[in-house]
Every structure is written in C-alpha cells, then in structure tokens.
C-alpha cells in the first residue's frame, strides 16, 4: 500500500528526515515512536503533502502511484488521511457542511455521484455512534470552541466518514485523558480492516495498550533506527529512549 524509500526532507534548509524506509501493507497497523524532535510529525506532514517541507531525496509510492508528485488534495482523494495533532478551527463552516463537501470531492474524484442527503445522514449517524461523538457537535462550526479532546475525536469521526485506505494519526493521543484515549482507540479498532492500514505516531506507549500494532518503529534523528513488534513498545516504556540513542551514537562512532 505504502512504500517509502530513503526519504529525505528539510524545512528552511534544515534537514529533518534523513533517509526513511518503511513499507505498509493492507490490514497492518504501524506505530512510529521516538523522542521529541526526531521528525515523526515531519514524516506525517511530508506524506500528507505539507508544502512547508521540501523533499530532497527518496521516493514514496502509494497504491503503486508516485505520492510525492500529487498535491495534498489528490493524496486525500486517493485515500490518504491524516488525523492532525492540532486540528484547525474554521468559524462559520458547520461540521456537517464540511464533511459533506469533503466526501463529495473525494467521491467525484473516484467518479461517484454525491451521497444523497439521506445516505449521508445515515452514514453520519452510524459513524458518530462508532466513535462516540456527541451529536450536537456536528452542527457546530468546524472545531470552533471544541475542547482538545473534542477536536481529536472529531478527527476520528472524519476518519470514519471518509473511509481512507491509509490513515496517519499524528500524536492523536497527546493531551487526551485516559477515557478519551480509550474512545479514540476503540474507534480505530472498529475501523481497521483487511483493506486499510494505519500509521500511528505517538510519543507514549499508552495508546498502544488499546491499539495493538503489528509493527513498532523507533525514529530518531530523521531515521528509523529500530523496528520490532509490540514488545518493542513495552521495552521503550520501561527503558526510555536513551539506550537506543546511545546504541545509535555508538554505531556512528
């Protein structure tokens, strides 16, 4: 589904990603962990097509297509979704109107007609229940005045509504209390299937208690320096990141 080869990216001339390699197949959940400043969120932003970052080397293939050649909206229409770490507020635009516009755009790209009002409302009702999203929030302006937790859950509602092939969750757990983390995790668990895949970027192991990843990668200084299974996450939780950093330093010297 997703193939990243030797990806390098920089912002304002400063290299952040220094050769990322990663392969994600349908049905898989990958967790990317790592200390602050290791470039995890940059990886998410580059995959989503944020133009603040300049890709200087490497390739990214998504469903056999060159992802880096696509503008961000085409990536989205191709089925790539990013749950933002800091979802923006858009005053005056109702959540419903926004969701409907997004679904219509994505469907049009795939040659499908817009959902009827009835179909749309039905899907919305289903998904709201799925992610335990307060029904009154969908009529409000997009994220305006939402609490941090509400914003994050709105990201998961959008994820549920848009049904992407690949979803990247960028530190969705940050700033959430344990109940909210559980709700987000339940949502993801219900949405996962043999046809989609998830990349979960997180600083902490606790989200991974609820979402069991197939693979755990440790990113440090712009590279993936260690990959393993869920046990790696437990090890990181116990020992912190320093032992990995040290082993990397040692191998460089």
């Amino acid at each position: 589904m997703l193939l990243i080869k030797n990806l390098h990216a920089q912002i304002e001339g400063k290299p952040i990603l220094k050769g990322i390699d990663l392969e994600v197949r349908p049905g898989e959940i990958h967790a990317i962990m790592g200390p602050n400043g290791s470039g995890k969120s940059t990886l998410a932003a580059v995959l989503a097509g944020n133009e603040q970052y300049e890709v200087t080397d490497g390739e990214v293939w998504f469903e056999g297509k060159n992802l880096l050649e696509m503008p961000p909206e085409i990536r989205a229409r191709e089925g790539l979704f990013m749950a933002f770490q800091y979802p923006v507020e858009i005053p005056g635009v109702s959540n419903i109107n926004f969701l409907k516009t997004a679904i219509t755009e994505i469907r049009a790209y795939r040659g499908l007609p817009p959902l009827s009002a009835k179909e749309f409302m039905q899907r919305l009702k289903e998904k709201q229940e799925l992610v335990e999203f307060n029904a009154s929030l969908v009529n409000r302006s997009l994220n305006e005045g939402f609490s941090g937790g509400e914003k994050k859950r709105n990201e998961i509602l959008q994820l549920a509504m848009l049904e992407p092939k690949l979803a990247i969750l960028d530190e969705t757990d940050s700033g959430l209390d344990i109940d909210a983390i559980r709700i987000v995790a339940n949502g993801v668990n219900k949405l996962r299937s043999q046809h989609n895949a998830f990349i979960i970027i997180t600083h902490y192991q606790r989200l991974l208690q609820y979402i069991i990843p197939d693979y755990v990668h440790v990113q440090y200084d712009g590279r993936i320096i260690k990959s393993g299974t869920k046990e790696l996450a437990y090890e990181l939780e116990e020992r912190g990141y320093d032992w990995i950093k040290e082993s990397v330093q040692a191998s460089l010297e």
């Binding site: 989503a48 909206e73 933002f84 858009i90 005053p91 635009v93 755009e105 997009l142």
Partner: protein, 483 residues
C-alpha cells in the same frame, strides 16, 4: 400670467427648450454634457410634470454648489470625474411594449446571458422582475398579480405618470437632493428606477427583484428607487447587478429611499457584481450610491443586506433613520475586494425614537492590493431613551498586500442607551487551507469554504436563491486570489 421679469424669462426659456426639444426627442442617446438643457431634455423626454422638473433643477443647482468641493473624508482618493464628459441619457430603441414578445431579441439575449430568463423566472421562482437596462424599463412582469393585492411595482417613470401623488409625497423625503453631491446629481438627471408601494396590511407574496445593468459605453447610470411600505405592510426587495467589461470608468450614482410606516417591514437585499476593473486597476465601475431608509412609524423595521464583490470603487452607507418608537434597523454586509478594488462602505443608524434597536454586522474581505474600509455611525438622539445598538465588524485578509480599515463613529446624547461594538481582524491561515486540502478540497474550494463560513451570518439573511448566488459569487470572485 407672468408677474415678474424672472417668470417671463423662465417662460420664454421653457418655450425655447420645448421647441428645441422636438428635434431631439428622436434621439436615444444624449451627447455628453450637463446643464439645464440636459435636465429639461430628460424631464421632457419622460413627459414629467412641472413640479418634478423644478425638483430636478434644484438638484442641479445643489450639484453645482456641492461639486465645487468634492468630498475628501473618505479613505481613498476620489478620481477626477469629468461630469461634462458623461452622457446622461440612453434608451433602448424600442419602447412602450405591451408584452415580452415585443422586447428586442438582443436585449432578451443579454438578459439570458446574465441568467435572468424573465419568463422562467416568472414561472419558477415566483419573482417579479422589473428589468432595467440602460435607464429605461424594457419589461415588467407580474404586474397584474401584484395589482390584485393593490401592490404597485413599476418603473419610476410609470409611477410619475400613474401615481404622481404618491411619488410627490415621498420622493426626496429620505434622501433630499441636497444630501450629497452624488445624490444631487441623481436628483437632477435620474433616468429611471423602480417604484414600489405596498398598501396597508398587505404582505407582498413574492420577492420583488430588479436587475440593473450598465450597457451602453460611457453612460452614467442614475437609478432612483423608492419603496414605501404602508402600515403593517411587508416587502422583501432584491437588487442584483452585473456589468460587462469596459475600459473606461463608469459612474454609477443611484439613490434608494425606503419608507416604513407603522408596524411595516422592508427587507432590501443587494448582490453587487459590477466590473471591478482589470488586474492592474484599470477601468471598472464607480459605485457611489446613496441608500437610506426611514422607520417612520412605531414598531417598523428596515433591514439592509448587501454582498458587494464588484466595482472599482464601492462607496456607500445604506442607513436607517429610526424615528418611530420601538423601530428596528439592521445592516448586514459582506464587502469583498481584490486586485486594486476599493471599498469604503458601512452604515448609519440614527436613533431618534424610544426603544429603537439597531444591529450592524459587517464582514470585510480583502485580497490582492485592495483597500477595504468599514465606516459606520451610530447616533443616539437626546429623546431616544433606551436605544440599543450592537455592532460587529470583522475583517479578513488574504495575502499581505491588502488593507483593512475600520472607522466606527459613535455619537450618543442619551444616557440610557446601550451600545456595543466588537471588531476582529483575521487572516486565512495556511494551516487552515492545508487542513482542508488534506480532506480532499483544492485551494479554491478551501478558500471559498472558509470565506463563506466567515460571511455566513450575512449570507443567512439573504433570501434562499440569492444566498446560493452570493455564495457562488464569493467563490468565483476569489478565483486566482490564492496562490
């Protein structure tokens, strides 16, 4: 019998003009220039009564006085306007038509392009359209149905002929010819416009709509609209405008007067999309309009809603005089400027009656090199006990070369008044656009969504079909503003 030298002179002059005018009546366009002859020609051409001619002449006199010192208080430099280079009268060739079949097919085709299929609109939308093309009404619809209710909706020219008493009673009572230089000019040379009278207790069953259009080259457009809602009456009036591309600046100095008697309500909505000039700021319409309403009776209400996207310069302040106790004035505005457009717009709410309330919601959107100013005045007279005003004026900036300005004036002479003013300035942030991109919206759609969200409070006040049109207009006007 003439009693003074002056009268004799006047009579002589009149005859002379009447004589001269015979040869000119065939003309469909008046050569450029403005003097008493021009005014007399227009008045004669329209077969107006003497009192109206005299009124026009007073307007001309005021114009001569006021135009010596053109206004300088506005937040832009007024371009030099050569009033003698403007032609003050142009009429489509065929007139006095009995039905649509008699309308020049070319004119109908133009309306078609503008998206105003008269027949369809009659049938489908239930909108009576008084289409104004270059000053003279060429088609009026739904007259009969309105007549059943006693509603008068016709061109100003017809109103002068058929309802002279009403016109005489109200014309110039809200915007006198001495009001400002452009109102004076309008009084002198107004060509045509719409007249609307809703009798006592009648609720107008449909939205009344006029489409204005500037067509002939180098012709000023001087419309005059007068709407009267008698006791307990209600009317919603729509004004929509488009203009074809022109190289020369075109002056548009219209006047709109609204009069709401006891418990009457007038809702006046405008979507203005005149040619704004090219990317470098050449050409475009000067939209210098005086719009004012008076809530004459108690519990009356006047509501202005405007979506302004066009014109090189938009300069107007649709206002409400709140004379009746418990009367309500509202102003909802979206003014969008881009490239080198200028807007200096806002409102005046003049509270005279007790317990009068007003509400001002102004949303400015600036892009490109444009300058967008909100200018508003809230005045509370000494006798306006318990007057209330709420003002919110927001500015949205797109890019970093445009300007947004706010000039709120408050003049309060009554200690019981409660006045609130809120203002914000914001930018469309790149992260907002990227967020929407990531959900499958391209840049244009993303900005349109953000802007429509920003303007929603105003757009919500437009009648349904107009709101949709206005939303599209905002989106279209933003094309290429983002990059």
């Amino acid at each position: 019998m003439p009693t003074t030298d002056q009268d004799i002179l006047q009579q002589y002059a009149d005859q002379d003009y009447a004589f001269g005018f015979e040869t000119r009546v065939e003309m469909d366009i008046l050569p450029p220039g403005l003097n008493e002859d021009t005014v007399r020609f227009i008045s004669a051409k329209k077969e107006e009564p003497e009192w109206l001619l005299q009124w026009r002449l007073k307007g001309l006199e005021q114009f001569r006085r006021l135009s010596k010192d053109m206004p300088e208080w506005q937040n832009f430099k007024l371009p030099h306007i050569d009033f003698q280079a403007i032609s003050y009268y142009a009429a489509p060739k065929k007139r006095k038509l009995k039905s649509l079949d008699e309308v020049d097919p070319e004119i109908l085709a133009t309306f078609e392009k503008l998206g105003i299929p008269l027949e369809e609109q009659k049938m489908l939308a239930g909108v009576a359209v008084d289409a104004v093309m270059d000053s003279v009404s060429v088609a009026t619809t739904f007259q009969e149905k309105l007549k059943e209710k006693g509603i008068i909706f016709c061109s100003m020219g017809e109103a002068v002929k058929h309802y002279p008493d009403l016109v005489k009673k109200y014309l110039g009572t809200v915007v006198p010819y001495s009001d400002n230089v452009f109102a004076a000019l309008n009084a002198a040379v107004f060509s045509d416009g719409s007249f609307c009278y809703i009798p006592k207790g009648v609720r107008c069953p449909m939205e009344l709509s006029t489409y204005f259009r500037i067509n002939a080259s180098n012709t000023g457009q001087f419309e005059r609209t007068l709407i009267i809602a008698d006791e307990g009456a209600y009317v919603s009036y729509l004004e929509g405008c488009t203009a074809p591309k022109r190289d020369e600046n075109q002056l548009h100095a219209a006047v709109v007067e609204l009069i709401a008697l006891d418990h009457a309500e007038i809702k006046y909505s405008t979507v203005q999309n005149w040619f704004p000039g090219d990317k470098n700021g050449n050409g475009g319409v000067f939209n210098f309009v005086t719009k004012r309403g008076i809530c004459k009776g108690p519990h009356s209400k006047i509501s202005w809603t405007q979506v302004e996207t066009g014109s090189a310069i938009t300069w107007k302040y649709p206002s409400v005089i709140l004379q009746g106790d418990y009367s309500v004035g509202e102003f909802y505005s979206v003014a969008m400027t881009r490239n080198h457009q200028i807007a200096d717009t806002g409102t005046k709410m003049i509270h005279l009656g007790k317990h009068t309330r007003s509400r001002i919601i102004s949303k400015g959107i600036s892009a490109g090199y444009s300058q967008n100013s909100y200018r508003g005045q809230v005045r509370v007279g000494a006798r306006a006990d318990h007057a209330r005003n709420f003002t919110q004026c927001d500015s949205l900036l797109i890019g970093d070369k445009c300007g947004a300005h706010t000039f709120p004036y408050i003049d309060c002479q009554n200690p019981t008044a409660i006045l609130e003013h809120e203002a914000t300035t914001s930018k469309i942030a790149e992260d907002q656009i990227f967020y929407l991109n990531q959900r499958g919206l391209d840049n244009e759609k993303a900005v349109a969504l953000i802007v429509n969200g920003y303007a929603r409070e105003v757009l919500n006040n437009l009648p349904m079909e107009f709101a949709v049109e206005a939303q599209k207009l905002l989106a279209i006007s933003l094309d290429g503003s983002v990059g």
